[in-house]
């Protein structure tokens, strides 16, 4: 029995090195997931395809009960296969409608592997989420209504390379474990001998129902979740279940502090959006390396009596009796500090390094918006888009035959047609049971063909006019979003100042999100114009690969003074800006350059010319004028595309 949790614990001792603990956490997550796949929802596995990821999946498969369905779901699965629908072959054969289960129903009791989950369309994610919540698939499609149990766990294979590329948040929220194996090397995985006992897991699965949790531990978990700013209560619920699974694995009926610490580390830590109150470090310079999350000297919790206990540094060996002295005290949760701290410290140790740096107030590196591995998306075609019903017509010129509607049109005439055939004496024995489909029955699916427009605002946030420009750009973004719902357009904002360009608002159509991201933008500093142009081009390219029509709007006075490598100097900066502008023209984007200086600037005009952009001097760049110009431009771009 002790063999099972040995892996995480043994490695927790070696916390000084981040890698083994990452893998140990991954092993622990796989073990807990195998115990309660449905309750825990699943795992987001951020890693590129490779031996490490395969090893983890192998491990999970080995721990799940024999014969558990493990279904790999391709990215662009359609509703018919995902949810289920009419089984056309059987329908045609039997002459009566036969329903067919989809992947979700087929995987009931098993685990779904979502391939390339970072590219999962919102629609697919929403369907999956509905099933995870309800434990059943509800189908109302194509003449079939079905209700089928679908109790599933999900492993999202997330190959995202950047922060923007991530699994839809609604799905993330329901997956207990967020693992990042990107930095785990194969050598270490191969060397790490873990002895996870499939029998212990099987026993734990049985014992899980008996596990109870004390109120103080429950409070500690909830408190840690709150302190780390994990807004959604699902995080707390999932942490509770993870702790329960850990206790069951150890053959206990009660959750102890170790279990809670493990759950906090695996479930809460990766979800942290802030450091515990009182723990936030003072702002440091961006150049300073982020603190090691797993260093042997972790940031101390705020409470006065915490640091003395070794358990803080090593949650894996937290004293089980820590909670005894504090339990059955006053119900006030603040009186459980020792226990709370164990749990919180464990969670904190698992906050990803990059995130920690972010949380401490510095988004140091410019987030690149371009994404690798999307070359396959170039063939955005006319058959993409949202289906908008079906119409009568023949499947020509690439129009897609809508089989169901065609069948439906043919269905009522079957008797008549069979009668005709028999009367004409053409019928052979075989055709008797077959459906007679004629040309006039054909229906094709209609798609909304208009491609979506993404307007990218690239804002020069440098210098003294920055605040004004930012405020007006923000106003324009909100105006655009407020009235463009019907057109389903999206808006992105990136700003360049100081030495780098940064995506402030990834492409979105959510006004709420835009407001939040754009609140309180910093301004001032140098003008890295070339970097700004590069970043805009990169983002526009990514949008184009998705099949969107990008429109870029620059708000700048066109005066560069920071070169691509961050060195100051007007001459080099200008030359690079012109070079970047030429590259942009080669990509043939629709670009608007709004000159925000008081007098129209020759430099800005030249830049616009080199970019192939329209030039618009707008000294006061007010939000209304800006959004109007963009609308005109976008309309033009959409008809071109």
């Amino acid at each position: 029995m002790a063999a099972a949790p040995a892996a995480p614990e043994a490695n927790a001792d070696a916390d000084a090195d981040a890698t083994p603990s990452t893998w140990a956490a991954a092993v622990a997550a796989a073990t807990l997931m195998a115990i309660d796949p449905v309750g825990l929802g699943g795992v987001n596995l951020r890693a590129l395809a490779g031996p490490v990821r395969d090893r983890w999946l192998e491990l999970l498969a080995g721990l799940l009960p024999a014969g558990t369905p493990l279904r790999r779901v391709p990215l662009h699965i359609n509703d018919e296969r995902l949810l289920g629908g009419l089984d056309l072959a059987a329908t045609l054969r039997t002459g009566r409608p036969v329903a067919q289960r989809g992947v979700l129903a087929e995987a009931d009791g098993g685990v779904l592997l979502m391939a390339m989950a970072e590219r999962l369309p919102a629609a697919t994610s929403a369907r999956l989420v509905a099933v995870l919540d309800a434990g059943e698939v509800l189908v109302a499609r194509d003449g079939v209504s079905l209700q089928h149990p679908a109790r599933l766990g999900v492993v999202a294979l997330d190959e995202g390379a950047t922060v923007e590329e991530c699994v839809p948040p609604g799905l993330m929220d329901r997956l207990a474990f967020h693992l990042d194996l990107a930095d785990v090397s194969w050598r270490e995985v191969a060397d790490a001998g873990f002895a996870v006992d499939a029998q212990a897991v099987a026993a734990a699965r049985v014992g899980l129902a008996r596990v109870r949790i004390d109120d103080d531990l429950l409070q500690a978990l909830c408190g840690a979740a709150l302190a780390l700013g994990t807004g959604s209560l699902r995080a707390s619920v999932l942490a509770l279940r993870a702790a329960g699974a850990a206790a069951a694995l150890d053959g206990r009926d009660a959750v102890n502090a170790d279990d809670a610490a493990l759950a906090a580390r695996l479930v809460l830590g990766p979800r942290a959006t802030r450091l515990p109150p009182g723990d936030a470090a003072p702002p440091e310079s961006a150049a300073e390396p982020p603190p090691e999350p797993d260093s042997s000297d972790p940031p101390e919790p705020p409470s006065p009596d915490a640091g003395s206990d070794d358990a803080d540094a090593d949650p894996g060996v937290a004293e089980g009796n820590d909670n005894e002295q504090s339990e059955s005290d006053a119900p006030d949760p603040t009186s459980h500090e020792p226990l709370d701290d164990v749990v919180l410290a464990a969670a904190k140790a698992a906050i990803p390094a990059g995130l920690l740096a972010l949380l401490q107030g510095q988004a140091s590196a410019a987030r690149s918006a371009g994404a690798g591995g999307r070359a396959g998306q170039l063939q955005a075609s006319r058959r993409r888009g949202r289906p908008a019903g079906a119409r009568r017509g023949e499947p020509r010129n690439g129009a897609r035959l809508n089989v169901i509607e065609t069948l439906r049109a043919a269905a009522p005439w079957q008797r008549v047609r069979r009668g005709e055939i028999t009367a004409a004496g053409q019928g052979d024995g075989n055709s008797a049971g077959r459906i007679q489909v004629r040309a006039e029955d054909f229906h094709v699916t209609r798609f909304k063909q208009r491609s979506e427009t993404t307007t990218i605002f690239a804002i020069d946030a440098s210098g003294s006019a920055a605040l004004h420009r930012l405020a007006e750009a923000k106003g324009a973004v909100e105006l655009l979003l407020a009235d463009c719902y019907v057109r389903r357009d999206r808006v992105a904002v990136l700003a360049f100042r100081g030495k780098v360009a940064e995506v402030l608002l990834p492409p979105t159509r959510s006004l709420v999100r835009a407001k939040r991201s754009l609140a309180g933008l910093p301004g001032g500093g140098g003008t890295p114009l070339a970097a700004g142009i590069d970043a805009a081009a990169q983002l526009a390219d990514a949008m184009r690969r998705r099949g969107d029509t990008p429109v870029i709007v620059f708000l700048t006075d066109g005066r560069a003074n920071i070169a691509r490598d961050g060195t100051p100097g007007r001459v080099l900066a200008d030359a690079q800006a012109i070079e970047a502008a030429r590259q942009m023209r080669a990509a043939r984007f629709t670009v608007l350059l709004v000159d925000t200086s008081q007098q129209p600037q020759a430099g800005a005009q030249r830049l616009a010319l080199e970019m192939g952009a329209r030039y618009l001097p707008l000294p006061n760049a007010d939000a209304n004028a800006l959004s109007r110009s963009v609308r005109v431009l976008a309309a033009g771009a959409a008809t071109q595309g």
């Binding site: 699902r234 459906i435 719902y485 959510s510 999100r513």
Partner: protein
């Protein structure tokens, strides 16, 4: 999904629960839109509703669940039935649970509006209408989770039917019209996109739910969820009395509703509030009035007061405000400000 989480066991979310009760008391208030953070129990509350509602009497076998006491049932078969001295249709009747119908994502149009019955067409060659989800939702609730992710052509459909209360099907040589009066309930996360203004307008009340930020209620949520999952039956049983109390409140409120009066002064205040906020058209005013009346009925009051008005002002009006780029504050804040200005606080 066998046993829904009990309505009364939902921690906090007072405004959401109240709005659902108002819609259950007076369906003419219009639908309820619940927008908010993940994991706040949006869908839990809506699904809990089904178990809570008192059963309704229907003409047995009617696919639209027509009311035998209705003077003009929407469906043709029921209209053809003879009427007795008490205005009751002479037919077999049955007591059934109020339908709370899920509109699953990925539903196709034919299942929503109804279509040619494929089974009968294929096997018997008969042209028959098979009612869809809208027919099932008649006199009940139609629930759309992730309403902002609903496909556009379905949104169009809902907008039309939700306004007219009637579903007109013209397809595959069928021509059918049937009643489809339902309370539209939608939920979603605003981060995933805006809602079309026309659809927004169909919802009578709109709510913004937030995850509780205080530790005790967060703990309570997790604790109850855990208890429910361990033994749904036992948990539901433990809350049965509370749920029963809520059900009685709805029944009483429904009975009281016709006799609740709205004084002229209150009407005037409602109108002034809408003017102050610049809400378009009469819908805001009407919804505000109806919601306040339903609330009064729920509270057991026979007269609608400014207090009722104030309580429902935000849910009834916040989604009807024009967006103004100059005013950055959320719509709830604007409604609250207008209420404070009008009633002088």
């Amino acid at each position: 999904m066998a046993v829904p989480f009990p309505f009364s066991a939902i921690v906090g979310q007072v405004e959401m629960k109240l709005a659902i009760l108002i819609a259950a008391t007076d369906p003419t208030v219009g639908g309820v839109l619940v927008f908010g953070d993940r994991g706040t129990g949006k869908s839990t509350a809506v699904r809990a509703l089904a178990a809570l509602l008192p059963k309704m009497r229907v003409v047995a076998g009617c696919p639209y669940g027509c009311d035998p006491a209705s003077a003009s049932p929407g469906c043709e078969a029921c209209r053809a039935l003879k009427v007795d001295a008490h205005g009751q249709r002479i037919a077999k009747t049955a007591l059934v649970p109020v339908p709370v119908v899920d509109l699953p994502l990925g539903a196709t149009e034919d299942r929503v509006v109804g279509a040619l019955d494929l089974e009968r067409a294929l096997s018997q060659g008969v042209k028959a209408f098979e009612p869809g989800l809208l027919a099932r939702a008649n006199r009940g609730f139609l629930y759309v989770d992730e309403v902002n992710l609903l496909e556009d052509h379905l949104v169009d459909l809902l907008i039309d039917v939700a306004a007219s209360g009637e579903n007109v099907v013209e397809r595959e040589g069928l021509s059918v019209r049937h009643p489809a009066r339902f309370v539209l309930v939608g939920s979603g996360n605003p981060e995933e996109g805006e809602l079309r203004p026309q659809l927004l307008d169909r919802f009578g009340l709109s709510l913004e739910v937030k995850t509780p930020e205080d530790l005790p209620s967060r703990i309570e949520v997790v604790r109850r969820r855990d208890a429910f999952e361990r033994g749904p039956e036992a948990f539901t049983e433990a809350w049965r009395k509370e749920d029963e109390r809520v059900r009685k409140r709805i029944v009483k409120a429904r009975a009281l509703l016709p006799s609740v009066v709205v004084p002229d002064a209150t009407l005037e205040n409602a109108a002034r509030l809408c003017m102050l906020l610049g809400t378009d058209g009469l819908r805001g005013e009407l919804t505000l009035m109806r919601a306040a009346r339903a609330l009064a009925a729920l509270d057991g009051d026979e007269v609608v007061t400014d207090g009722h008005l104030k309580q429902v002002a935000a849910p009834a009006l916040r989604h009807r405000l024009r967006r103004s780029p100059l005013d950055d504050s959320g719509s709830t804040v604007r409604v609250d400000r207008a209420v404070a200005e009008l009633f002088g606080e």
